[in-house]
């Protein structure tokens, strides 16, 4: 018997790894501001924002085993797809965050003799990060909901578990409503938290 709680626990590391890997894409996002990389970043972001996630998951499902010459578990396929897909959206958030930092800050940093890297690291990014937090939490909620799509390649997540249980119990209404509520409790509490953070961080 696959209990709901068990499945949530199975999902938890999945989500956490995703969060961390996505976080690593911050750097990728800031690269969009450097002149030679702008085109590359632009193409990356625009491409993945114009393609459905389901498509990206199927791409990874077929391409990753071909590239690695061996079959890999659904978990890693889905994870790769989510990271690549979400990074495009995170890149956009990071770009908006960096660009929201007042120009005078960069000029002041240059004036006191900081190098470009130092300016980015010690002046721009800390402020940008603060501006980005609400959007990042929102994006994380979107990602949380999108993890349900991992079930289409057979990964045993909450949605897939509901399907499996339903095949045996045949009580679709109760089951699907139940997992809807489980998802809802998670995402709604996160969105409340996002709102709280937004209010705390916005200058009064």
């Amino acid at each position: 018997m696959i209990s709901g709680l068990d499945v949530i626990w199975r999902n938890l590391p999945f989500l956490m790894i995703q969060g961390f890997l996505g976080f690593g894409q911050f750097v990728g996002g800031t690269i969009r501001l450097a002149i030679p990389a702008i085109v590359l970043g632009f193409l990356y972001v625009e491409f993945f924002r114009g393609v459905p996630l389901v498509m990206v998951i199927f791409w990874m499902w077929f391409v990753v085993p071909i590239a690695l010459h061996r079959p890999i578990p659904e978990f890693w396929v889905a994870l790769t797809a989510f990271v690549i897909f979400e990074a495009a959206y995170l890149g956009e958030i990071v770009r908006a965050g960096v660009q929201s930092v007042a120009r005078g800050q960069v000029e002041a940093a240059t004036a006191v003799g900081l190098s470009g890297t130092q300016t980015m690291l010690f002046v721009v990014l800390p402020q940008a990060l603060k501006n980005m937090i609400p959007s990042l939490v929102t994006q994380f909620i979107v990602l949380f909901k999108d993890t349900s799509l991992a079930s289409i390649i057979g990964f045993m997540d909450l949605t897939k578990a509901a399907q499996v249980v339903n095949n045996r119990e045949v009580r679709p209404f109760a089951l699907y409503l139940f997992i809807a509520v489980v998802y809802w409790v998670c995402t709604y509490s996160m969105s409340r938290y996002a709102r709280y953070v937004e209010q705390r961080l916005s200058p009064a």
Binding site: E46, F47, R49, G50, V51, P52, L53, V54, M55, F58, W59, F62, V63, I66, A67, H69, I141, K145, D146, T147, S148, L149, S151, I152, T159, A162, Q163, N166, P172, F173, L175, Y176, L177, I179, A180, Y183, W184, T187, Y188, S191
Partner: protein, 240 residues
């Protein structure tokens, strides 16, 4: 990499026809769901800004519940869970008339409606309060104020984020493949199943989605420029 490409699978056999019919189903599904979402979004978005509390609570419940649960779960819900609750004759009729398609339209429309609602609400809230007061002062009822004063302005204000959500709807229509609606992603998978040429099939599907999304985005930015209200929309032209 020992994968041999054979691009001709895309124009030999049934592939072309499958892709075309998939594209048509995707467009039909998206268009119907978009209409449903627009109606639900406008009504619930407006409800969320009225004074009358029960209406506001109803709209809030709708938005918060449907927006915060994955679309895939809603697909399964409308396809597997709801039909068994319906009376026998209706159910028979639905099974004869493409149940999965209509379940897909409902799931996508109701889910996206909740997201449209949020967009419209923020559009309405960005309109100065004095507009509503002026409408009330000139003797319009609340309905008339929304119909003739608030909504015409709000709907134009939200074209950029609305476009974004509409494109999301189009991309999300691919989730309908899980309830076996024969849309574009479904047909792409079918080509893959028949020809065992995954990369070619996926490339075809991906290119079609990209062209659709980028095309729609440029059309909408044209409409945005045409319908811009001078002095009200600042810094317009940003596509998303």
């Amino acid at each position: 990499m020992n994968y041999t490409f054979n691009w001709s699978v895309l124009w030999t056999g049934e592939s072309g026809r499958w892709l075309l019919s998939g594209l048509i189903v995707t467009l039909e599904l998206s268009a119907l769901a978009w209409l449903l979402a627009l109606v639900l979004g406008i009504v619930s978005g407006a409800f969320r800004t009225v004074q009358f509390r029960p209406l506001r609570a109803l709209a809030t419940f709708y938005v918060e519940f449907f927006r915060n649960v994955p679309l895939l779960v809603w697909m399964f819900f409308w396809y597997f869970a709801v039909p068994p609750l319906l009376p026998e004759p209706i159910r028979e009729w639905m099974f004869d008339h493409g149940l999965e398609f209509w379940a897909g339209v409902l799931a996508l429309g109701v889910y996206s409606g909740a997201r449209f609602s949020e967009v419209l609400r923020s559009g309405i809230q960005s309109i100065p309060k004095t507009q509503m007061e002026a409408a009330a002062a000139s003797g319009l009822t609340t309905f008339q104020a929304y119909r003739y004063v608030i909504l015409p302005v709000a709907l134009r204000l939200i074209i950029p984020p609305g476009t974004n959500e509409s494109l999301n709807l189009l991309k999300n229509s691919s989730v309908a493949l899980t309830i076996s609606v024969a849309e574009l992603t479904f047909q792409t998978r079918q080509i893959e199943t028949y020809t065992a040429k995954a990369i070619e099939a996926l490339t075809a599907g991906t290119v079609i989605y990209l062209v659709l999304c980028l095309g729609l985005a440029s059309i909408m930015s044209w409409i945005e420029r045409r319908t811009a209200i001078p002095g009200l929309i600042t810094g317009g032209g940003r596509r998303r």
